[in-house]
Subunit: 496 residues, 2 copies
């Protein structure tokens, strides 16, 4: 209610200041500098209207999805009109995903475990393990696995196969109905998280499954309108039925082959690159060797081996619970001298990882969850144009933040810090491709201000901050732009 | 492990950059500019050692207290050595507390409800109400309260009085063993929060209780080494046994008297000021009247009426759930023209409250939870030296943030944004004074970097950003400094 007795001069000046500040903030945000075409403006209007309606409804019902745990929000997100637009949106690239988490666990159950010669057992600690072999796996059985059971035969003896298949599924994902009860703390969820990879290994490391798993993962990202991936690859040994074990070179070559074949069959697909990520290295003295391996592979396969993931430094498993600082890793550029320079960083505390990332001119910073708490490091990283890889669902599921509106990237997105959105381990979190993470970023982290500009910038960033060559970036950008225009035209035109 | 083959030049340069960045960050933080005396340095060393030991232990056991809900962390906090130091620390002033939440609920049960002529009833909706009266409260009874029961008589008929008293206690506080279950969402906790004030009103608005409640509240803050308070006062009508109802002027005078008497009996106590906070104003057109009331009181009682709390604007109850932006209010300077200028702000969306606070040159911003997401407004507020009032436990209990290491003030503390720590409604949250909130700020929001400098600056800020006159600030600072030196000497000297 504006009362008539006020002084107009004061009011105008107040309004001016307000508008100046609001305009300044609009320009600062991620995407704030983009000038939209007429059609993009129309599409943006429609998107904003849908977003606002959804937020109003959320406030009315109290179901603010980004503030809920993803496991509980997932089915609600799937009903969202905004989410369905995000699914159709060409999102560019997924720059932070891990090798054994790109493909839906459903596929593993329904495809991989139904193949012939699949054996399973329970270790003494009760953990499920798989092994493909023909003839049957070696006797004497390894101590870890007292009894191998042929899955095909076992299924034949079951009354209810789908119950059994569902129980298998629960071994491949963190998904659970009541995550707050199932995972009381970070230790509990990390224990389960590690177990999942242990369970998956025997399945995914079987050469024929390995190829198809990768191909299926690319398919899921492609269907989610992601055209390029940088996969953090551990290069764990892959085996054949007869026990043959392949070298890391074989693995890199196979990644290259599968991606090549996939691209041939999928128009617009740009490809993949690998970021060598040796999670096994627990002993610090092995790091030099690991980096040398990466350098060797880079020389042999310059088209696909792009970087080295430094999440392994320090305690040997930065991908672990507790300290918030621990959740960052970074991708180093593999170039001469990097090995020595990395060695120099040994022995520094884990929480200085961010500093190291900046000093080493890393390509990108994984998560960067604590970066906003380090204003000087942040300023330096910004000057060097080092983006963060924001993985909202991962950070929530692994208990770094519960309400995603409080994610530290919210502050950085508002300030315009360079960033990309990725999904880390979508299969473990019950997600798929990038759309779920884009939804959380758009509705939660971005708040009311995020709009089509934000989304466009995030997609552009994913190509800009990739390890593609400049020529490849240009070509990737053209492919993306063509799709973007189609998407925008469809969105501007209206209903679905 | 530093390998011998590295190039020393590179290493030095890396170390230099690292040290430069670390030093820069150290200087930027809240308190980073303070130069400590030799004795303060010694005290700081001891404090840091205790803090580090406590954090190491927390990482070992997984019980990171600032990441736990306060209701569950409280008893563990009380065992902390750091907490016991913070209790002894002269904390300066409490600048953001509400009138009906400064005194322990225990006192209400054990003192107020044991006074003669105390009646209670349950409303039709099952809510407890109190009323002191002699003779018995009026008949016909008000529709809200079908039957008044004399508490004294009722207690005489009970087998187990302490069970009953505990059930009373649960009506005065949000405390519960399993807060995540009891309060599923913000609506649930706000419903209970509002009910608490409804229950308290009949007790605390009884003139003799009112005086003692205030005095007891000051006592609790004084024992917690807080020497000055700015109380957000609603000035609800206060009544006598015979039904007499006092004016707002009587209330202000009584606040002044009680504080005056308290100061006489408590050496070093500086006093209180009131920030008029008319939470009842649901109708926007009443705001002008409310501001005029505040201005009138300010003219009559310039020594105690200091400001006007604008949390009531917009929807009429900014102190409400859901939108994160809603949690901010601000204290306006009461000076000529403020009424008109406030009127001009009517009709702007609630989430622009922050902008208004800055444009109006507010004294302080309450909470400022969303400020870090508004970089341009933040810069403007910083330029104008407008501090935020950080109330960690309040924000956690009212479900704005769960892990306090993620509190937005963490970023602002690292960047050196001016702030004070306060406790909002300590009695409702199961806290007392300021020490619990200081603990959360020191161990959670401040992270590993917060040390004695941080604490000293926060205490200094609480005087600097108060509404005291410059002369009074100087004198308050002297009182505080004297106590600070004693505290530092004790801490430097060692064990307890
Ligand atoms: Zn990752
Ligand atoms: Zn408050």
């Amino acid at each position: 209610v504006v009362v008539s007795s006020f002084c107009p001069a004061t009011s105008t000046s107040g309004d001016e200041t307000r508008n100046q500040l609001l305009t300044r903030e609009k320009m600062m945000r991620v995407g704030g500098q983009l000038v939209l075409t007429r059609e993009e403006e129309m599409a943006n209007q429609r998107l904003r209207a849908l977003k606002e309606a959804e937020m109003r409804e959320a406030l009315r019902t109290g179901s603010i999805l980004p503030s809920m745990h993803f496991f509980q929000a997932k089915s609600l997100i799937e009903k969202s009109k905004v989410f369905n637009i995000l699914k159709k949106m060409p999102k560019g690239a997924a720059l932070h995903v891990h090798d054994f988490s790109i493909t839906s666990p459903d596929w593993l159950v329904k495809n991989a475990t139904y193949r012939p010669h699949c054996y399973f057992c329970f270790t003494r600690r009760g953990t499920l393990q798989f092994r493909f072999a023909h003839p049957a796996p070696p006797t004497p059985k390894p101590a870890e696995c007292p009894q191998w059971v042929l899955l095909e035969k076992f299924r034949k003896g079951l009354h209810n196969v789908s119950d059994f298949d569902n129980s298998l599924l629960r071994n491949f994902t963190l998904m659970t109905e009541n995550p707050h009860v199932t995972y009381a703390d970070q230790d509990a969820i990390w224990a389960k998280f590690k177990t999942i990879f242990f369970v998956l290994r025997g399945l995914v490391s079987y050469a024929p499954v390995f190829r198809d798993y990768l191909s299926q993962g690319l398919e899921e990202f492609y269907q989610d309108n992601v055209l390029y991936l940088e996969i953090r690859a551990s290069l764990y040994p892959v085996y054949e039925l007869n026990g043959t074990v392949y070298s890391q070179e074989w693995l890199v070559r196979t990644y290259e082959e599968v991606a090549h074949n996939f691209a041939k069959a999928h128009p617009g697909f740009i490809g993949i690159k690998l970021i060598f990520s040796d999670n096994r290295t627990k002993n610090e003295s092995l790091i030099k060797k690991s980096i040398q391996t990466a350098m060797g592979l880079r020389v042999k396969f310059p088209g696909i081996v792009a970087g080295f993931d430094l999440s392994i430094r320090g305690s040997g498993h930065l991908r672990g619970p507790r300290s918030q600082g621990q959740s960052q890793d970074f991708t180093a550029r593999l170039k001469p001298g990097i090995s020595q320079r990395l060695q120099n960083l040994e022995g520094t505390p884990v929480d200085r990882n961010l500093l190291d990332a900046v000093i080493l001119n890393s390509t990108r910073i994984g998560h960067g969850f604590a970066l906003s708490k380090h204003p000087a490091v942040l300023a330096e990283a910004w000057k060097k144009d080092i983006p963060i890889e924001v993985c909202p669902i991962s950070n929530q599921v692994l208990k770094l933040v519960s309400d995603l509106r409080n994610h530290p990237a919210a502050v950085m997105m508002a300030a315009g810090y360079p960033m990309v959105i990725s999904s880390d381990d979508p299969s473990a979190f019950g997600a798929r491709g990038l759309s779920y993470d884009f939804y959380e970023a758009f509705m939660g982290i971005g708040g009311m201000s995020a709009d089509l500009r934000t989304l466009k910038q995030l997609a552009i960033n994913s190509i800009r901050y990739s390890t593609l060559s400049e020529t490849m970036k240009k070509s990737a950008m053209e492919t993306w732009e063509e799709r973007w225009q189609k998407f925008v035209a469809g969105l501007a035109r209206g209903p679905k």
